[in-house]
Symmetry: C2
Subunit: 360 residues, 2 copies
Amino acid sequence: MTQFVGLLMAGGTGTRFWPDSRRARPKQLLPIGTELPLLEAASKRLQPLIPPERQLVVTSAAIAPAVRALLPALPPEHVVGEPAGRDTAPCIGLAALLAARIDPDAVAVALPSDHVIAPEDAFREHLEVAAEALAEHPESLLVFGIEPDRAATGYGYLRRGEAVGSFRGKSVYALDAFVEKPDLPRAEDMLAEGGHSWNAGMFAFRPAALLAAYAEHLPELVDDLQRLAAAWRGPDFEALMDEVFPTLPKVSIDYGIMEKVQGTLMLPLPLSWDDVGTWGSLARLLQPDSDGNYIRGDAQLLGVSGCIVSATDGVVAIKGVDDLIVVHTPDATLVCRRDDDQGVKQIVEALAARGMLRYL
Amino acid sequence: MTQFVGLLMAGGTGTRFWPDSRRARPKQLLPIGTELPLLEAASKRLQPLIPPERQLVVTSAAIAPAVRALLPALPPEHVVGEPAGRDTAPCIGLAALLAARIDPDAVAVALPSDHVIAPEDAFREHLEVAAEALAEHPESLLVFGIEPDRAATGYGYLRRGEAVGSFRGKSVYALDAFVEKPDLPRAEDMLAEGGHSWNAGMFAFRPAALLAAYAEHLPELVDDLQRLAAAWRGPDFEALMDEVFPTLPKVSIDYGIMEKVQGTLMLPLPLSWDDVGTWGSLARLLQPDSDGNYIRGDAQLLGVSGCIVSATDGVVAIKGVDDLIVVHTPDATLVCRRDDDQGVKQIVEALAARGMLRYL
């Protein structure tokens, strides 16, 4: 049986779920369209295959204590806090080195912690498929692709090449190209054409293979990441993180590594998936009422249709309006048009600009 | 100098200011368009003329403790709790008897406790005018009229007759008739015609004169009210209120007394007045921002116009909508159209019907 190490990336700030998400309580710590907080659900989703002592979470240092409290089954040192966000390449590079310390022969899976995926057993089955493909191609990296159900313009795409083999009855492909976030006509073309998946930032690799790629394409990171990994679980690790991590170059793994590496594999995930990106995504995660409203928490609606409503520790009462997003929390209420859920970011920026940090 | 007794009627439940107003915290206990809670402002407004020991508040028994806490300068027995609402005739009749116990020769002024009136010195000057008129007409009742500034259909009107005299340079009239709440054309006619004032439920009288009117027009109330008044400030008063008050007929002073009595005087109040009837009334009490929004508390608006916004212990953030009412409290948020502020009542009824009493 394959020995995995699970690497959960939990660095997001989740501005777009304000007012539920705050600086001290970003989206991955919240239950949004789910029973459990998203990060807890992500950890539990792996557990039949990857026990907590083989899971590792990389998050911001500010919320590392909250993450340890949420995931008490993980050893405390398995929650690594970044003192500053440096995008995904330093984060996943460090995580890969720590995975090698846990088990140098493991297959590492690096996964965002704030997505919704179902069914969970099919997801785990695909991790096993990835591991079998990597057993045959140990030098390769593998990227999982989400099968598109609409012409989304908010994601990068993965174009598949030839099938390189079949594992557990599932085809694994050579990755032909990364496609940047498209405009709508291009997205519609790709959907019609087939052979394109969304890039959800989900990877599998042997740590040695990823580190070889860093040595080739991001050599300026390697010494620092190795110093940090050597100090892990020791008394000086946090101080060294504070000293070194903020000095690392800010670069994404897609740009710094994945787009440059040859021989990458691609495994489509024919599953239900959502990145729970904005309040509007609740319309994909919840069942509507008879007037097409999507409701989370207590609500009283009279003559209301097409609204997305969230009430935390309270009730939202609405009369005679359509197609709004209304979110209640004890110290803040948000109202915007449903087609403008990206606008939450501007509200947060405006509050910050006025120094109203107590609401952020 | 005239010795007044001030009778503040504070029995309202204020459903229309939900979610700020609750069963345990009706409108008169809240600051709405004012610095102070409305009842506290009403009491303070009288104080240069009527000291706290000559003020009396009639309210519901449920909130009497909260009223005593709000008005600590009043003797505790001067806050009388009704165990059940019986409309205004039992309430004002009892208050008049208690006024007579405080000072049988006083001029009593019976005033709602949840209106905004300015300027305050001009208001008190008109109370003095009323007292002088009643000194010449001791058997009469006097009703104050609000000078209409629009063709309102939500109030009853007072039609004035001949002037009966001038006091401190202000004319006092014979009351010609009460006019029931009109339809819009009739309201427009009255506004154009002149000679009509709004009936705001504000009266002045010598207690003996009002009690004579009760003896004639509501004799079935007199014995019970006198029993209650005799027990006031004694150990059995509350128990007797619990026993007797709920059995009294439910009748308004307008219908039961004022419309039947002859010789009533009418004194116009050429003042700024508002009954703060609904959330929409904040547009008359607050200054608008440059986009025509009326804001109470912390708010962050982006591309928003014509909204009425209230935030208690929190912030309301709105983007890209117009002409809404948005109210935040820690455990409830209200959203409705600005032209539908009466609809709050239906929301409260719907919550009650579902048994969600924790929000009421």
